[in-house]
């Protein structure tokens, strides 16, 4: 592909390699971007009539104005792009944020024109990264709503790709999901050994805790915490990584995670306070408190249904992962649940913990995800990284009133692992799945290599 250097909003285009107005090569060098916007400065030489020069200069200012409006006002929908490709490189573009131009006073060139040619200085402020001019589709179906995993393939680009769109809808049995977590992590040490769901009954029970059969629980069992002897805060059960991953690949667990607990209270008069703790099996120091949360069936009687609740965020291993020192020993990593009953006489039924990667996290609440009724949730990230979410309902169509959180949202360069958790309003039902479909735009710092 030939060299490209132009600015356009899709309608008006100014080519800086045209014979009439062209960038002087020795006047431009690519700037370091880091994570900040970049000012690209060019010298342009114009072999152009005065009238055409005035038109070109006016078009430049219109494009810069449009670029500023796009950045300042989310209602604007027409971005301005800087297209730049070196010799033989595939097309790529960067979002233009601002710009300015100036007729240079040099020799006979001046703003008075009339010299039959001119020199112009141009400064264009662009976003830190270039991206492909067209997106790449990604899709998967039948992903479990209880920590379902999807090993996402490697994407081109040398920084995280922009996830311009990710749509989620249900794929099995009619049920409307209203709350959704989607997390992405890097491959790191590997992903094949990663297990997102840690069954409570796989661990070790402590005070007033015992395994019990439960068809509504993942794996058919739960841990029942009766508070029969100790109602105050006490350690109730521990789950070690080697309780869950019994074969190997211990270090496939390394990463940052949002821990969701699937549990219920068995009476509407019961209120509990719960702590998630993180540590190591065999440590004499005890586990560290990660979070402290309250659950009251008095305030919310749907807590007598199994639901997913965020319990806290953990980094595994807490020591860091340098030099592979912790690789095998990661099997001793442990999470604990401590709990106390504040009121009532009921029990806490704990099913499992679900680990959702928190390195890149999306959270939706009050959504409407139901394929049967045409409902879906869409999460969007614009070229300027403006993020928003919408949901589609059967009756109202597309509406924007949905709570969302997109944190460090992007598609990892070398691929990785996507984990999903989702539930209906007021309960989480097993064996539900979702379909995911989206578009990513690979991003580049300078040159596009694929």
């Amino acid at each position: 592909m030939a060299q490209t250097l132009k600015i356009t909003d899709g309608t008006t285009e100014i080519d800086f390699l045209a014979s009439t107005l062209f960038a002087v090569g020795e006047g431009w060098q690519s700037a370091e971007s880091g994570l900040e916007p970049v000012w690209e400065t060019f010298d342009l030489a114009g072999n152009i009539t005065d009238a055409n020069l005035r038109t070109a200069q006016s078009n430049l200012e219109k494009l810069f104005r449009q670029a500023r409006r796009y950045i300042d006002n989310p209602v604007e929908n027409n971005p301005v792009w800087l297209y730049f490709s070196s010799e033989g490189e595939s097309a790529k573009r960067a979002l233009v944020l601002d710009g300015s131009s100036r007729i240079s006073a040099s020799g006979r060139s001046s703003p008075l024109l009339g010299a039959g040619g001119t020199l112009m200085s141009l400064a264009i402020k662009r976003a830190p990264f270039y991206e492909n001019t067209s997106g790449t589709a990604i899709a998967n179906s039948g992903v479990s709503t209880l920590g379902g995993s999807w090993a996402v393939g490697s994407a081109s680009g040398d920084v995280d790709s922009r996830i311009s769109e990710l749509k989620v809808t249900t794929s099995a049995t009619v049920v409307t999901l209203t709350e959704l977590w989607v997390g992405l992590r890097d491959v790191r040490n590997g992903t094949t050994g990663f297990i997102s769901v840690w069954e409570a009954e796989a661990g070790v029970n402590d005070v007033d805790a015992a395994d019990a059969a439960d068809a509504g629980a993942s794996g058919g069992n739960r841990v029942t915490i009766s508070f029969a002897t100790v109602a105050g805060m006490a350690q109730r059960f521990s789950v070690r990584w080697f309780d869950v991953q019994t074969v190997g690949n211990w270090d496939d667990l390394a990463g940052d995670y949002l821990v969701l607990g699937r549990f219920k209270l068995d009476a509407i008069t019961t209120e509990v306070r719960m702590q998630l703790r993180s540590g190591w099996a065999g440590s004499t120091l005890g586990a560290d408190v990660v979070s402290d949360v309250y659950f009251s069936a008095v305030d919310d009687n749907t807590l007598t249904n199994y639901q997913l609740h965020p319990l806290g965020r953990v980094s595994i291993p807490p020591t860091g992962n340098r030099d592979g020192v912790m690789n095998t020993n990661l099997k001793n990593y442990m999470m604990q649940i401590h709990a106390e009953r504040l009121s009532g006489s009921g029990a806490l039924h704990f099913d499992c913990l679900a680990l959702v990667p928190a390195e890149r996290l999306a959270y939706i609440n009050y959504g409407n995800i139901n394929a049967a009724s045409g409902g879906y949730v869409g999460m969007y990230s614009g070229p300027d990284d403006l993020e928003y979410a919408v949901m589609n309902t059967a009756t109202a169509g597309l509406i924007g009133q949905v709570e969302f959180l997109l944190e460090n949202w992007g598609y990892p360069v070398g691929g990785g692992l996507l984990v999903v958790a989702a539930q209906e309003n007021g309960s989480h039902t097993l064996n539900k799945t979702v379909d995911l479909a989206g578009t990513i735009y690979p991003r580049w710092r300078l040159y596009r290599t694929s």
Partner: protein, 395 residues
Amino acid sequence: MTRRALGYRHANRDQGGFWLADFSLQGPSAELAQWFYERLGFHFEEWSGGVLSWEGMIYEMALTVGGTTRVRSLDKLFDHVRTTYIDNNNVVQTSAAAEIQASQDRYGRREEILFLDGYTQQAAEARRDRHLAEFGWPTARTAGVLSGQAEQLEVQICGYGFTGNWRYESAGDGTTDNLSDWVGEIIAADCEFLQVGSVAANTYQVKKETPTPQRAWDVLKELAKLGDAGESLYRLYVGQGRRVTYEAISTTPRYYLRKGKLYGSAGGSVEVDPWQVQPGVVRDLDYPISKRAYQGWLEDERDFYVHEVEVLSDGSVALKTDEFEEGEILANQQEYELRQRAGAATQVLPKGGNRHVYEHMGIKRKDWVLMSREEKLAIKMAWWQKRKARRGGRR
């Protein structure tokens, strides 16, 4: 509104819990005005890493348009007013309460008692009604005019613990009971926005009465200060879900400080999320003394108790104890950052009180106490420069 909240920061206190947060907004004046007039008293949440990390109520807003600043504040709201007055016969009387139900329906009930002397009943009630008329709604009040000020809205959010002082204590019945029982009764009866969370049993006997009117949260704080028969220190705070926790302060370190960074685990190398840091015991692993503490209430000489945690907009964390002042923390942080950039030999401002600073700079203590944070910081930096110059750069 994550992207739009400029300069967002929050603070948590050991007594109080979620305490204060603030940010500013810029945009069209019509939009800012809508915020100003519609969102006082709105619920506010901060989420970090997928977890609720702070919550509160929009408590005060200052809108600057055309150089004029107007303020609406729940601090100026009193929609339930009564008087206690000494009449012309030197008899203490209490008037009936006057209130504005519509204001209470929207913002909650915030009580005020006017203490008057030498008033007739008619005059006392007139005074009451006048006060209610002026403060029954959180109306906009002009704070000042300064030409050239940019249009913006400053928003201050307070944790729900602030609402604990909206009413006067009324749960006491004059009997003697367990301290923890009275804590729960006050929360249930006199704290409209709060719920009992975890109230640790404390059988210390207290008389459940307040001879002079006291606000509910003030009474609760005093009860927390009593501790228990075992001389444990207690903490009273409002957390997630507006639930009040009353519990003995754990002396087990919650965080570990190493090379100026905070970790959640003794062997950890992953820093804690600054937005989720809570007051508690911090163990300073850089401290050269490591031995059991036999004096005081902490376990180890390396430990200190953080009373307040402030997180600034850049994610930096200020840990405040009873002794530290904010300016000193900032000065130490600034010095640490300067050293890191310059790679110079270490020399930090000494920790501890400020007496050596203001005395050396020839400033009287009564003047020092009245100075702003910025003024103190500037003086400390100047003091440090003089000291460094005097010592020729030596430690």
